[in-house]
C-alpha cells in the first residue's frame, strides 16, 4: 500500500540529547506531524550537500506531537552505529535535515479494549511508547517488556512508562532486570496478564522468536520489521521479505510500503540469503 500522506520537508532540529547508548532527537516538522501514527517511520538524507552517502536512513518515529511551542514535532531515538547515524547524531539545534514522513504502515489499534503486550528490543522500544499511550486512551491494558544486550542499550524514558501497567526488563548480561532474553519471560507475561495481542519492534531474530511464542498461544502478533532500506518510499525494491498472503501465496513484499508493521505469523522468517521455495515468481 502506498502512503498518500507522505511529504518531503526541511525539518529543523530542536534538541539532541544523549540517553544511554542512544540520542533522543526532536525535529520541528509542521502540520505533517498530525499524520504520523505509531509504527510509521521517517527517511532522512545524511551527510550534507557533498555527501558520499547516497541513500536515505530510516528511523521509527518515537513520538509525534501535533502542536507545541515549535509547531508539530517528531521525536526519534537514534543509535550512532554507522556513518550516517553518526552524522545525524552530531547535528546541533537549528540544523536542518531533508526528511520524508510519515512512511510505512502503522500498528493496528483494536476497536474493542484488549490486553496488549508491547515488546521492544534495544532502541526498537522507540515506537512502542506512543503506541502504549494510544492503546491506553482506547481503554486497553498495556504491559511492556524491553530487552537488550546490556542496561545502557535499553531505551525506557520515564515519561514513556506512564501508560504502562507493568514494565519488565531483560538484559543478556544481567545489568538490568532479568538476566536472559525477552522470549524467556514472554510465556509467563502472556499467561499472567491474559494477553490477547502482542506488538513488537526490534531485531529480526527477536521478532521471529516472538512469533514462535505468539503462534503457540494463538494470539495476534503485530511486528515492525527492520530490513535495510535504500529509499523508504517503495521504489528501490531492496527491503523485501517473503510474506504469505490471504490467498496462501508467498510474495516478496517491500517492508517500507507493506511494512514495517506486519502480521508476524505471515512473515516467512529465517529467509536471509535465500528465497523460500514456492515464492511467487521464484
Amino acid at each position: 500500500m502506498i502512503s498518500t500522506r507522505a511529504a518531503q520537508i526541511n525539518a529543523e532540529l530542536i534538541s539532541n540529547k544523549r540517553v544511554g547508548s542512544y540520542h533522543h532527537m526532536v525535529f520541528s516538522v509542521g502540520d505533517i506531524a498530525s499524520q504520523a501514527k505509531p509504527g510509521n517511520f521517517v527517511a532522512i538524507s545524511v551527510g550534507g550537500e557533498s555527501s558520499s552517502m547516497v541513500l536515505r536512513r530510516a528511523f521509527a518515529i518515537y513520538r509525534s506531537t501535533e502542536r507545541g511551542v515549535n509547531g508539530g514535532l517528531v521525536e526519534l531515538v537514534v543509535a550512532p552505529q554507522g556513518q550516517g547515524s553518526r552524522w545525524l547524531t552530531s547535528l546541533e539545534a537549528h540544523d536542518v535535515v531533508d526528511m520524508v514522513l510519515p512512511l510505512g504502515t502503522h500498528f493496528g489499534i483494536p476497536t474493542e479494549p484488549v490486553r496488549a503486550l508491547l515488546v521492544g528490543g534495544g532502541y526498537g522500544s522507540a515506537p512502542l511508547f506512543g503506541l502504549a499511550e494510544l492503546l491506553k486512551s482506547r481503554g486497553c491494558r498495556v504491559d511492556m517488556v524491553l530487552g537488550a544486550s546490556t542496561a545502557a542499550k535499553i531505551y525506557a524514558p520515564l515519561e514513556g512508562k506512564r501508560s504502562v501497567s507493568s514494565l519488565t526488563l531483560t538484559t543478556d548480561d544481567g545489568t538490568a532486570g532479568i538476566a536472559g532474553q525477552i522470549t524467556d519471560v514472554l510465556p509467563k507475561l502472556i499467561e499472567e496478564n491474559e494477553i490477547e495481542i502482542v506488538y513488537s519492534c526490534g531485531p529480526m531474530g527477536m521478532l521471529q522468536a516472538i512469533t514462535a511464542v505468539t503462534d503457540r498461544y494463538q494470539i495476534m502478533h503485530q511486528c515492525a520489521v527492520e530490513e535495510a532500506m535504500a529509499c523508504g518510499i517503495g521504489v528501490c525494491m531492496t527491503c523485501v521479505l517473503p510474506v504469505t498472503g490471504d490467498d496462501g501465496v508467498t510474495r516478496m513484499l517491500r517492508s517500507c510500503i507493506d511494512g514495517p508493521v506486519m502480521d508476524g505469523s505471515r512473515v516467512v522468517w529465517d529467509s536471509k540469503r535465500k528465497i523460500p521455495e514456492g515464492t511467487f515468481g521464484a
Binding site: 502506498i2 502512503s3 498518500t4 507522505a6 518531503q8 538524507s45 558520499s52 552517502m53 547516497v54 541513500l55 536515505r56 531533508d98 520524508v100 530490513e227 535495510a228 535504500a230 529509499c231 518510499i233 517503495g234 521504489v235 528501490c236 525494491m237 531492496t238 527491503c239 523485501v240 521479505l241 510474495r251 516478496m252 510500503i257 529467509s271 536471509k272 540469503r273 535465500k274 528465497i275 515464492t279 511467487f280 515468481g281 521464484a282
Partner: protein, 311 residues
Amino acid sequence: MTFSFAADLAGAKLPNPILTASGCAGSGKELSQFFKLSEIGAVVTKSIMIKPRSGRATPRMAETPSGMLNSIGLQGPGVDYFLENDIPWLAANGARTIVSIAGETVEDYAVLARRMRNLPGVVGLEVNISCPNVENRGMVFSCHPETARAAIEAVRRNIGGELPIIAKLSPDVTDILGIAREVSNAGADGVALINTLLGMVIDTNLMLPKLAQKTGGLSGPAIRPVAVRAVYQVRAALPQLPILGMGGITNGRDAFEFILAGASAVSIGTATFGNPTAVIKVRDELSAILQERGFDSLSDAIGFAHREVQA
C-alpha cells in the same frame, strides 16, 4: 526568443529531457505522491519480463562510496499484470511511458515486443540487454555483438509501427562502441548508456560477500565519469545515433555534462532513492543552466563538448 527545453529522443517527442531510470521509479505510483508524473519527460518503467519474478534473495543492497550496489534481480509481476494495471494507470495520470523490457532468450524479446504494440501513453521501448543480475553472466546480451544484435533484431521485427527502440548497453565490455554499432545496425533507434557496472562488497565482520548474490550492479555518482566517457565515445563515432544518458546524475550540472557529451535526454536513477524529487530538481536546474549559458534550446547543447577549440 523563448527557450525550448523540448527533447526528441530517437523520435519520442518529450516536453523536457528528464526521465526516470528503469528500476528506480517503482510502478510510477510511488513517486506520484511527490510530483505529477506528467511534469517529467517520461517515466521509464522497471524491466518487464514475461513471467512474474521474485527477484533475488536479500541482502540485495550495499551502500558504497558515492554509490550503491544492487542485486534486485528484476523482481516484477510479469507482463500480463503490467499491461492490465501499470500501463492504464500511467496513461490515466498523464505520464509519457517508455517501457523497459528484459528477456532470458531472444524469443522472450520477440514476444515482449509484440505485446508492446498500441499501448496508451507509451512513447518508446527501452530494451534492457544489459542487466548484470542474471543467472548466467554469459547471457548478458549486450556483452557480445552477436547476442546484442539478435535481441534487438527480434524486437525490431516484432514491434511494428513507429515506437522508437532504445537499446540499453552495459559498460562492462572492452568495446562499447562496437556494441553500439551492432545494435544500431540491427535496428535500434538509439542507445541508453549506461547500465550498472558489476561490483562486489565484502562484509568484513561476516567475512563474506555482503550481497546474497555475491555480485551486484554499481550505480550512483561513483560511475558518472564512466558513463560520460561512454556517451562521449559513442557520440563521437556515431553522431546520428540518439543517446539516452545516465549514470550518477544527481543535479542539473551533472545532467548538463551528459548533454554536452552528446545525450539527447537523461535518466535519473539512484538519486531518486536519496531524494524522491530528484527528477524535478534536475529538470529545473538543467533548464536554468542551459539558459544561463546562452543556449536557445536543449538541442543546441547536445554534443557541444565535441566542438573544435582553437589552441
